[in-house]
Each structure stands twice: as C-alpha cells, then as structure tokens.
Amino acid sequence: MAEVETVEDAHDGHEHHAGEVHRHPAPTSFIRKYIFSIDHKVIGIQYLLLAMFSVFVGLILSVLMRIRLTWPTAAVPGLAWFFGEAAPGGVMNPEVYLALVTMHGTMMVFFVLTTAPQGGFGNYFLPIQIGADDMAFPVLNMLSFWVTFVGLVVLVAAFFVTGGAPTGGWTGYPTLSAIGEQLNVPGAGRGTDLWIISIAIFCVASLLGALNFLTTMLNMRTRGLSLMRLPLTCWSWFTTAVLALLAFPVLLGGGILLLLDRMAGTSFFVPGGLSNGETLLPHSGGSPILWQHLFWFFGHPEVYIAILPGMGATSHILSTFARKPVFGYRAMVFAMFGIGLLGFFVWGHHMFISGMNPYTAMTFSILTLSIGVPSAVKTFNWLGTLWGAKIRFATPMLFAIGFVSLFVAGGITGIVLGQTSLDLPMHDTYFVLGHFHLVMGVAAIFGMFAGVYFWFPKMFGRMMSERLGRIHFWVTFAGVYAIFIPMHIMGIVGMPRRYAQFTEYKFLETLHPLVVFVTIAVFVTAAIQIVFLFNFIYSLFKGPKAGDNPWEATTLEWATTSPPPHDNFAGIVPTVYRGAYEFSVPGAPNDFIMQTDPDPSHEHEAAAPAVLERQGGNGDGQQNGH
C-alpha cells in the first residue's frame, strides 16, 4: 500500500493532477480507505475476503457432513458446544446434517460462487482492463458490498437462533420452507426466516452490482477499446452481470412471496388441507410448484453466473501462458452469449421429477442439450488455444487447464441428466451431486484459484510461491476427482442424496468402503487448502517483488504498476491500439504486444527521444515508470 502512495505523491508533482481525471480523490483516513472505501480495487479485495471467509466456513461444513455420513455415531469435539442439544456429546442429529447441507449450499452458491468471481475479480479488474479509473457509480459499488456483507451476517446468524439453522436445503422448497414454526420442525422457524431475508438482501446487493458492471462496461471503455478488442474476462463479467440483472429479481419476487406465506398467512405456495399433526393449517389453494418455477428460473442462470467468469479467466490465462491468441475470439464471445441466453430457457430440467407435461419436459430437455453446442465451442477453442503451443506451466495455467478438465468431466454428465428419462431415476441420487459439484462448484473454484494465482502479483505487488502453488494444485486436482467421480457411481447404485445416514439400507452396504474413501479424500483436499492459505498470507508479506508485468501479458491491467495507484493509471487515460491477445505475432520483437502498444516494430531505445519530444518538456512524467 505504501507504494501506491509513493506513486501518487510522485504524480502530484507534475502537471496532470490525478484530480483532473479522477472523479474522487484518494482517501486519507483509515475508514474511508479500507472500510467504507469507494475505490473499486479495495471493494474487490473486500469481496474476495468475504468469499474467502465463506468458502472456509462452507468447507468446514462439508467436512462435518462427510463425518456424519461415514460414521453416524462419531463424536466431534466442540460440536456439543456449537449445536447444543442438536448434537449431544458432539454426535450430530439428523437435523444437524440437514442444517449443514442447507448452510453449505447457501454459503457456497451465494457468498462464494456469486461474489468472488464477479464482485471480487470483476470489481478489481473490469475497470482496469477497460482503462477506466473506477466503476461508473463508485458509491453504489460500496453499497453493494456492504449490503452483501449484511446478507452474510444475517445468514450466519441463522446458526445461533432458537430452533437452529434452516433445514430446507439451498433450494428452500415449500411447503417445508413456507409453513414455519407451526410445523415443529427444527430450523423451520426463525432460522428459515433469516435464511429468506439473507437471500433477499443478497438479491438486492447483486442487482446493484450488476447495474454498476453493465454501465461501466458500456460507458467507460477507454479510447480505442472497441468491443471486439476487450479481454474475454470483460465479456464474461458482462454476460454474468446481464444474467444477474435478469435472474435475481425473480428470486427476490419469490422470496417476498415466501416470506408473506410465513409471516402474513397468505397462501401463495402452501396448498390447503395440511396438518402439523395436531391441527389443520389455515392455508388453502397455493402451489408449491410455483416456487420451484420462480426459484429455478433464477437458479439455472445462477449456475452460469458462477461459471462464466471462470470461463473468462480461463480463456485469458490459457492464451497468456500458451503464448498464443485465443483461438476463435469472436466465437468465444458469442458462445458466452449463447450459454447465457439458453440458460434462461432450461430451468424446467431441475423439475422433471416434480412432475410436468411430457411435452414441456421434452422442450426443456432439447433446450438443455442444445447448451452443449456453445459449451463445446468453448471447450474446443480452449483446446485450439493450447494446440501446438509452447506452454508455460505456471500455477495459474495449471488451474486454468484444471478448469477445462473439470468443466468437461462435469459437463458430460449434464447431457445425461438433461434427458427426462435418465433424470427421473438419477435426480435424487449422488449422481446429481457429483455432476453439479464438478461443473459449477469445483470448476468455478478452479477458475477462482487460477485468478488468484494470476492476479495476485497485480493486486499486492508480490509473487506467490510457485512450489507451494504446484503442490496445492496437484493435490486439489487429484482430490476433487477422488471425491466426485465415486459419487457418480454411488448415484448409479441408487444412493439417495440429502440423507443423513445409510446404515439402514442393505443395498448400500457394499458402498461403504467407497464412502470412506471419499471422506478421506475430502479430508486431504480440505487440509491442503491450508497450504494455499499459508502461501497467500506468506506471499503477501514475504513474496518476491513482482514487476508491472510478471507474466508478460498484453491487457491493460499489466500496463500499470503493481499494485495500481488509486486512479489505476496515475492520471493517464490509456489508449488501446489492438486486440487483447496478440501473442507470438510474426515479426514483432517480443512474443507479446501490449494493447497500449501503437507500433511494436520499433525498438524502445529508438523511440525514447520521440517520446520525450512529445512530452513537451514534461519529462518527469516518466518517473511513474519505476
């Protein structure tokens, strides 16, 4: 951070005061600088830290789930204190397992997969990659982070209320989620209230964020940065923001209806004739399926909200480390749009098992399978980018290749599940669990890891350890396959998901060794994340200094200092002369040409006098260069 100040101080020395170009001056007080900051870079890091907190909480929850599944009577130290009566002596009740499922899903989907790629990396790098000094609405940006933060606090609070955390799953299906306390089910009371309120708050935050992203990208691109010269990361954040903008309001609407059913006695989702075992409930005529439609109309685009930024980062990183342009740039952009557009018309495939008209199911099925086309375009273009390349296997590249691998492995089973006849027997089994964890969970996480290793030098001015990064990659990569491939097999055998234990099922007894294997793989994979955490924190202080452009990349974020100054380009408005991925251009002196480079065929030395001349005697402008 000290470096930022130096650059700005140096900058104030000459004619172009930052204030002239930048809309808000650099803050000086601690609170305005690091807490209620309106600087998109600080907000981006805040989002990343929030996601990092959530991902580790979510990870611990999943470890607990595995313990409950594998050894149902095992006592875990500390749980008796945390869950109280629900875990007597540290042995988890089945309700605790359901609460863990719900909180793990909600934490991971909303506060990790939605916030980190978009709110974190997007916030930090979209303005820099388009040559802007900040987002279009900086105050709104700060607001969207703090609203997200409140949403997280409300969600975590659900652990501590009477009745415990919600047990309805991250999909919150009524009637369980809609009836509330009258049902006398653990977690269906105050916990579920908080869960719905948290989701509603999160919807609002995401909408504010999406509004900002779209305006920024449409209105604030710098000189010469035409749409087809944008890095693919920008396109992925843009498409993601469009999806968020159109999908989150629907969830918000559904959430309001659900809350009214619980609190105001309406019957949007609750059918008549329900009893809690003692009395008839006063609801009548509602439709639980209506919630499923509203939820999945949001829920399916949400899957792409999680994965698209990972696709963007992967394309970006593959090209950089393969030292080749992205294969089929335009096709990549349109494939992203195609995935986003189709994503709005396939929500029904989550509901085949809820019952629907076979013709409707057929339509949803065909549309679902057709998403395979743009997905395949992307996959083959990634392979085309790698084809014949002299690849630099740095850690970001390993994770980007890992992303492609996981996306293919998880996507293939999507084609299986997209067909009604196959989905019906598989839907409530571990097969679905394996499928979506690979394709939207772990693949997206790999996209994030790739992003962290790739952009860490830019964000903090230091390199992360390559050796630790490689260890982290290989163990995680092997680990996630060891976890999720066996789940497909369990699913085919018929192991039902969302069950707290399987000891009572004779036909699942043979699977027990596999269950133990998966759990051990979970322990190893979870433990190796400590290496990542250590690498992150250690490198923050002790990593070797990174230059402005350690990866020899081409896009605008590498044309400024590491970390960038408060207004990103030190009072300068960069001009873009070329597309984002000009690697290994024949005849060029280097194997990469920066987007800001007007003419690569001339040597730097020869150009220096011309530059000085152009500066009009203002030679001290160059002191930003160190």
Partner: protein
C-alpha cells in the same frame, strides 16, 4: 484535450517499456464502436453523464423482471386452487390513476423547461410532480384503509394478497422516484457551475423522468391486471 491525449499515451508507453515508437501508430486508435463521447465535448471517458441514462435503463430492466415474476405468479396462482375471489375495486384507485397520469405530463413539462433553460419553471413543474406523486401514494393508502374497513386483509384470499403485495412493491418503488425528484429539486436550488455540471444535471433529470414514466406505465399495467384481467 487532444495534445494532452498524446502526452498521456506517450507516458504510458514509456512506463511499459516494451519497445514502442512515438505517434506513428499504424492502426487507427479510434477503432469502431469505441467511446461514444470521444469527440470534443469536454468529457473524459470517466465523466460522461450518459451513464445516468444507461444506468437507469439497466435498473428498469431489473424492475421489469421483478414485476414479470410477480405477474406470472399472479397468473399461475389464479389458475390453481378454487379460492380465487377477486376483491371489489376501491373507487379511489381511479383517482390514483388520474394523479399518476397527470404527474407523467408534469414531469415531461419540467424536463422541457430544463432543456429550454427556464429554471424557475423547471422547479415549479418538478414540485408539482412531487405533490402529485405524494397524492398518488396517499390515495393508495386510503384505498388500503377502505379495504381494511371492509375486513379485506392480506391473507383474506389470494387476490387480496396480490393486491396488497403489488401495490406495496409499486408504491415502494414510486417512493424511490419521489426521493429522486427531491434530489433534483435540491440540486435545482443551486446554479449549475459549468456547462459540464449543467449537462450532468440534465442527464440526471432525464433519468429520473424515465423512471417516473416507467412507474406510471407500471401502475397502469398493474391496474389492468388486478381489476380487468380475468
């Protein structure tokens, strides 16, 4: 502006230090579809007031989706169960409708006055719009009161649930519009310091007007949905 641009590019190039030349770029830096306001209008890339209008259109898209979701829920719910009994329309809603329609006209007049630089006229039309907006909200609250007096509550039947819900969500958004108008009013008391802040003011006003017209149209739609759609 232009000369500064060149200097700035040069500085960037030096900083990167990747063998570059002076201004002899062989490619046209402009590119197609680059910045819309790249000309000599005095705005840097970061300062364009256009972003208020763009931002407003995007915000309206999300509000549109919220009401689309609630409308489809309305239509689906009307078709399930046998408890759908539409409530009698409170007559006062005709007054609501007249008020909000008029307010759309007055805000258009306000915007016209601003564009002709007739500032006192602008302020007066704006104030009238605020009053009409508050009048709309008042008639909505009164019609709620009438329904409550007839023992029609949120949970009475699905149609009344949707009536309260849709009017409340629309009313909350309209209240946001009134805050926007108040913001414009507060701003209009100060004289614009420069042509730049003048243009910003105009962009903000047209964004708020856009929002207001949308709220008007949305009310007409909800009114038709609730009481004429069967």
């Amino acid at each position: 502006m232009v000369s500064r641009t060149v200097t700035e590019q040069a500085a960037v190039k030096t900083k990167i230090g990747t063998g570059v030349s002076g201004p002899r770029g062989r490619k046209n830096p402009g590119g197609s579809g680059g910045r819309g306001n790249g000309g000599g209008d005095g705005f840097s890339a970061q300062d364009s007031p256009e972003r208020y209008r763009i931002g407003m259109w995007i915000a309206l898209a999300s509000i549109f989706m919220l009401f689309t979701a609630l409308t489809s829920a309305y239509i689906v719910r009307a078709g399930t169960g046998n408890d759908w009994r539409p409530i009698a329309m409170p007559r006062l809603l005709w007054v609501s409708t007249a008020l909000i329609l008029t307010s759309s006209v007055t805000i258009s007049f306000a915007l016209g006055a601003l564009k002709r630089k007739e500032h006192s006229l602008y302020k007066r039309w704006l104030l009238l719009t605020v009053v009409l907006g508050l009048g709309f909200l008042a008639t909505q609250l009164l019609s709620w009161q009438q329904l409550v007096a007839q023992h029609v509550y949120v949970s009475t039947n699905p149609h009344s649930s949707f009536f309260y819900l849709l009017t409340a969500v629309h009313g909350a958004h309209l209240l946001g519009g009134i805050f926007g108008l108040d913001f414009l009013l507060l701003r209009s008391w100060r004289k614009a310091a420069s042509a730049k802040s003048e243009a910003k003011r105009e962009a903000a006003a047209s964004a708020v007007a856009l929002y207001w017209h949308f709220m008007d149209g949305l009310w007409i739609f909800l009114f038709l949905l609730l009481f004429l759609w069967r």
